[in-house]
């Protein structure tokens, strides 16, 4: 939902400063130059918050606030007074009419954003080109860990990804880093001294730049208490030490909402190709299953009539994999997509051992599979 912020001030300068302050956030700024305009806009647009000056021509802020609070349809709109009128008596008088906060000019834009952010759930504008969307897009990860070996393990383990992994050893360095860099995901060691991981988590969640950034807790597998505490305070996920890199990579992709389908699905000419990796972990099976229907539907929708299941890298056949392949075949049959299998000698031998797979026919490579599918098409 895009929030509406109504700025009522006779000074165009103040209205420009307010627009500037919120330009990085997902909200619309509405403007009125006096109380009459402010009330009209409030009635028409029902803003989520009003920033109201006091001294204005035509109708001043106190009169507008009084009218607003006496209108049943508008009285619940939170109002922040933003005014040069800051004498104690004056503030008390206005507070009695009903305002959520009071900012005395001069003001820093950061203070304004912070106070508004306490009332409405301000979200930074999604900067599409800068944000990672697919598993092949660059992203910035921050590891807050005082043990260099763990950081090195994560950095080394993720070096095949396009992600930049940065490491800091303390909470102060982490806050500084997040202040100057847009971070896509943060991993914090829960064993930092004095439970500072939890303090850092809270600081990051109150900062608008990192309010929605996924944060993982890094913790020893056996430390159930720390894991429970992290879940209670709202960490996005937990990565246990010793680090299982494929599992961590998968969790990161999920937390950053990355499209991982390109790992498994691609199209070549009029063919959809589903490729499976050497080791089909439950995570892989789960991901492929989740993408399967939509990818097949997309292929058919764009005029494709053939599919190849490329299993030449797969080292071992097991029941979850068989089940997933049977689902894939069924899905293709439902939309009249003809398919072929590509495999290796081990896999072919494994297939003979199961009732459901003993009759599967494999090709040695994708080209051979393609030719077979073309023949099938010609015969049909």
């Amino acid at each position: 939902m895009r929030y509406k912020i109504l700025s009522v001030d006779d000074s165009k300068t103040v209205r420009i400063i307010i627009k500037k302050a919120f330009k990085l956030f997902d909200c619309d700024i509405l403007e009125g130059a006096n109380g009459v305009e402010g009330l009209a806009i409030a009635t028409k647009e029902t803003p989520d918050i009003i920033l109201l000056d006091v001294t204005m021509p035509v109708m001043d802020g106190v009169e507008m606030l009084t009218k607003l609070k006496s209108d049943p349809a508008l009285k619940s709109i939170p109002v922040i007074m933003l005014t040069a009128e800051g004498g104690k008596e004056h503030v008390l008088k206005i507070a009695k009419i009903g305002v959520r906060d009071y900012i005395v000019k001069p003001f820093k834009e950061e203070l304004l954003v912070q106070k508004v952010g306490r009332i409405i759930d301000l979200k930074p504008i999604t900067d599409a080109p800068a944000k990672a969307k697919s598993i092949f897009d660059p992203a910035t990860l921050l590891v807050v860990e005082d043990k260099p070996a763990i950081f090195a393990q994560i950095k080394d383990g993720l070096k095949h990804t396009p992600w930049q992994v940065h490491g800091v050893a303390s909470t102060g360095e982490a806050i500084d880093f997040c202040g100057r860099t847009a971070v896509d995901l943060i991993m914090i060691s829960l064993s930092l001294p004095d439970e500072s991981a939890f303090t850092l988590f809270r600081v990051l969640r109150t900062n608008l730049k990192t309010k929605y950034t996924p944060i993982f807790g890094l913790v020893v597998k056996t430390d159930a208490a720390a894991q429970q505490m992290a879940q209670q305070v709202g960490f996005t996920g937990i990565a246990t030490k010793p680090i299982d890199i494929p599992e961590l990579e998968s969790k990161i992709a999920k937390a950053m909402n990355l499209d991982t389908s390109l790992r498994y699905f691609k199209t070549e000419g009029d063919m959809l190709i589903m490729s499976l990796p050497e080791v089909c972990t439950p995570t892989v099976i789960n991901e492929v299953t989740n993408y399967l229907k939509s990818k097949v539907a997309e292929a058919v929708d764009s005029g494709m009539s053939k599919a190849v299941f490329d299993l030449h890298e797969v080292k071992r056949l097991d029941m979850p994999l068989i089940k997933m392949l049977l689902t894939a075949m069924q899905t293709c049959r439902e939309v009249a997509l003809v398919y072929s299998l590509v495999g290796n000698a081990t896999l072919m031998a494994d297939c003979k051992g199961y009732e459901d797979t003993r009759n599967w026919q494999f090709h040695e490579n994708i080209e051979e599979a393609r030719q077979n599918l073309q023949k099938q098409g010609a015969t049909a």
Partner: protein, 171 residues
Amino acid sequence: MPDIQEIPDAVFQETITRAVQEVFKTMLSQNATHSPMTPEETKACLGLDSPHVVSTVGFIGSINGLIYLYMDVKFATQCAANMLGMSDAEITEAGEEAVNDAIGELTNMTVGTFKNQLSDKGFPCKLTIPSIMRGSNFQIESISTATRRTYRFIIAGQTLIADLLMQPPSE
């Protein structure tokens, strides 16, 4: 309520200095330094002979007064550009109206900060709406019953004059 005549000059100087410093630091990230003037310098700085922007905001209540801020057009334009986050070219394109509005708001904030300190000292009053004047050859004179205090500030090598005209409320 205390008597305005009993407030020493030093308090007004301290109050306006704090107001100017706070506003320029917060809105423009610039430091303002009070630069005392001789009577001759004071007289000279109020007689304008080059293009200036003069902005004023009044306060009405237990003290009635006006504060004028004087700045030359170049400094006023720089302040406006800084405040609005505009480049030199953008502020030039935005025109005199944008500069006037920004300087009016800067004055509103300065006088507001000054007035709020007076209110908290027991002199409650309200602000008026800013007025802006531009010109090259003019002098603002006060009425005989008003008390006039003039202060000079140096901000980023430029001069800002704050001219306080005050009188007690009429009986």
